[in-house]
Amino acid sequence: MTGLSSPILRASSTLAFFMANTLSLYLLLRGHHAPGGGFIAGLVTASSVVLLGYARGPEKFGRVLGADPGLIAGIGLAVAGATALVPILFGRAALEHFFWILGNNGWSFGTALIFDVGVFLVVVGVTTKVVASFAASSCGLPALVAEEERRYSSPSEEPLEGTRAN
């Protein structure tokens, strides 16, 4: 079932994906001083991924990003958690952030950006995972792709869709 997929949507979704992600990168980088940040940027990227997923159809939705979204979220959590742990190892407070001004051309870098990137990845991963599972499951397909099925389910359980559904 590929109800949403029209040629126009398919052709334009890739363009929209890159445009949205340019905006998302902008929001991510300015987040330390101005409205924006990892969460907002993550939501923009996630909605572009959802658009791409709907254009490509529910079968390919779970792999639009080329990797398991759950793993992306996990990596994001690890990055964000590392910004809490690393300052402790250097004798500072957990989650303490540092800020440097690079030269005199107005550039600066804060370690809060690393935390924001972690948040970004968590938001993108979780949102994509949730929407992709819903989309696949409500089309009667298994909610997880085969590789994820092996990773995240016990050998004694069966996928709900296809056996009892519909």
Binding site: A84, I88, E96, Y152, S154
Partner: protein
């Protein structure tokens, strides 16, 4: 500034992440999981050792001052709670390693258990009301997932009331947090302590305390808000049920003790009176429910409710002695309750059912298990030489000194009902001859499971032998909880110094 409270939260986060990436169950992975939970338990016991004279360890996340910064504060009560919770968790993790072969384990159970531990440690360590909400939610979301991942289509129905009532509880808690912020302009416990002094007698503060107590009572399973508990816990696998029984409702009780004892001034006699009577009803209803049920896990689940009542009864007295008794019962209960759930799990593994009318003869078939059960069950019931007795004695003393004979009577009835239901399990499952002969198993897993439980049993017996130091420690903890100025000073002295690295707003 001590990094240890933050480490106690970060360690389970990282073990959960590693276990999430390392998805395929194998003996090595189980070993990793056990190793990390033991490491975390050791860290928490070290924290408890450092705070045993009433010291307070505090740190501010990111070196921010309140209201922006989140304080992590570990006093004796939270340190011992963390230590016992992580010991229970380590035992449950070890038990689930032996419960089934590695290849049949669910890959997500271990990451979720570690996530739950992270939430629990955060709840015990946090010094910020909103962060307490976040910690509750982390714990609860992990528990929702644990409740459904290994249940079939019939068991999964019981997750619905559990999730629904906890959502309402969370909404109430969040409402209370918002109102606290609007009233005090801060969510930090130490700041609230300082600013609440001028608001004593303000009806808005009474209203806040009522909402908070309501939200925590939902989480703790106080009658009449208990109905989600006895139906949902029995559907869990035994290792998870042990963890839930030893941990989740106890966080609710901890939050009540912390809020009434530390955060808000002791100026709400009506609230304490109502809480005490609710606790009295809870003790009796929980006991009656336990007596009426026929399966071991159902009986134990109703026991949780009854014991919550017994903990809150002395706490509602709002005296030093009452808090001491409540804390001692709370600590004792965390260990005993989870080991009883694990014993129920072994019975289930032996017989394939834990319905009392269908099992029996375990005293002869596995005397070791019977011995473990006898120690834990009669310790829970509070028979004199065993450790549960001392908490009950202190509670009795505290109740009588305040002339609250109604509450004392309710506590006595609850205790007797606990004893009756424990004797019921003992008679049908262990002493009576079996309806159908107990299958003689030579399965070494059962021995390993029983050996795991004996770790918790040793902890209970240790509480019996070291009853004096335990009572002393709970006195220190109660004094720490009720020492509002000491708590506020130890947090607020962190603020203002050592802030050079903090980022700009």
């Amino acid at each position: 500034m001590s990094p240890l409270p933050a480490m106690a939260v970060l360690l389970p986060l990282f073990s959960a992440l590693v276990l999430f990436f390392w998805a395929k169950p194998s003996p090595l992975r189980s070993g990793f999981s056990v190793g990390f939970s033991v490491a975390q338990a050791l860290l928490c016991w070290w924290l408890a050792m450092q705070t045993r004279h009433g010291e307070i360890l505090a740190c501010m996340a990111g070196n921010w001052s309140p209201p922006y910064g989140i304080a992590l504060v570990v006093d004796p009560l939270s340190a011992v709670m963390m230590a016992l919770a992580s010991s229970v968790a380590a035992t449950a993790v070890l038990f689930s390693h032996y419960e089934m072969p590695a290849a049949r384990q669910h890959p997500l159970r271990m990451p979720l258990v570690h996530t739950m531990m992270m939430g629990a440690n955060l709840a015990f360590a946090t010094g910020d009301l909103f962060n307490l909400f976040v910690a509750f939610e982390i714990t609860l979301v992990a528990s929702y997932a644990l409740m459904v991942i290994e249940s079939d289509s019939w068991e999964i129905r019981h997750a619905v009331p559990y999730v629904a009532i906890n959502l309402v509880g969370s909404a109430l808690f969040l409402t209370a947090a918002g109102l606290v912020y609007s009233l005090f302009g801060t969510l930090n416990f130490a700041d609230i302590i300082v600013r609440s002094g001028s608001l004593v007698g303000d009806p808005r503060m009474t209203f806040l305390v009522i909402i908070l107590c309501l939200a925590f009572s939902i989480k703790a399973g106080v009658v009449p808000l208990h109905h989600w508990l006895p139906n949902s816990y029995p559907t869990l696998p035994p290792a998870c049920a042990a963890l839930f029984g030893g941990l989740l409702t106890k966080i609710g009780v901890y939050a009540i003790l912390r809020c009434l004892g530390t955060v808000f001034p002791p100026a709400f006699p009506g609230v304490y009176e109502a809480l005490g009577w609710l606790a009295a009803v809870t003790a009796v209803v929980g006991g009656l429910g336990a007596v009426s049920r026929d399966r071991i896990r159902d009986i134990l689940s109703f026991h949780i409710i009854g014991q919550i009542g017994l903990m809150l009864l002395p706490a509602a007295l709002m005296t030093r002695g009452g808090f001491t008794a409540a804390i001692l019962i709370l600590w004792h209960n965390m260990v005993v309750k989870s080991s009883l759930f694990l014993i129920g799990g072994v019975v289930l593994a032996i017989h394939g059912t834990d319905r009392l009318s269908k099992i029996g003869g375990l005293l002869r078939a596995s005397p070791w298990l019977a011995g473990l059960f006898a120690i834990q069950a009669f310790s829970l019931a509070g028979l004199p030489p065993l450790s549960g007795f001392w908490g009950k004695l202190l509670a009795l003393e505290a109740g009588i000194t305040r002339y609250e004979y109604g509450w004392v009577a309710a506590g006595m009835i609850g205790g007797v009902l606990t004893l009756i239901s424990m004797v019921k399990i003992w008679n049908s499952a262990f002493a009576a001859a079996s309806v159908e002969p107990a299958p003689t198993t030579t399965d070494t897993r059962l021995w390993k499971m029983a050996a795991t439980i004996s770790i918790l049993c040793v902890l209970t017996l240790g509480m019996t032998v070291l009853a004096g130091p335990m009572v002393k420690l709970s006195r220190v903890a109660a004094a720490g909880v009720m020492d509002r100025t000491g708590y506020a000073e130890s947090v607020l002295e962190l603020v203002g110094k050592d802030r050079l690295g903090g980022g700009m707003p």
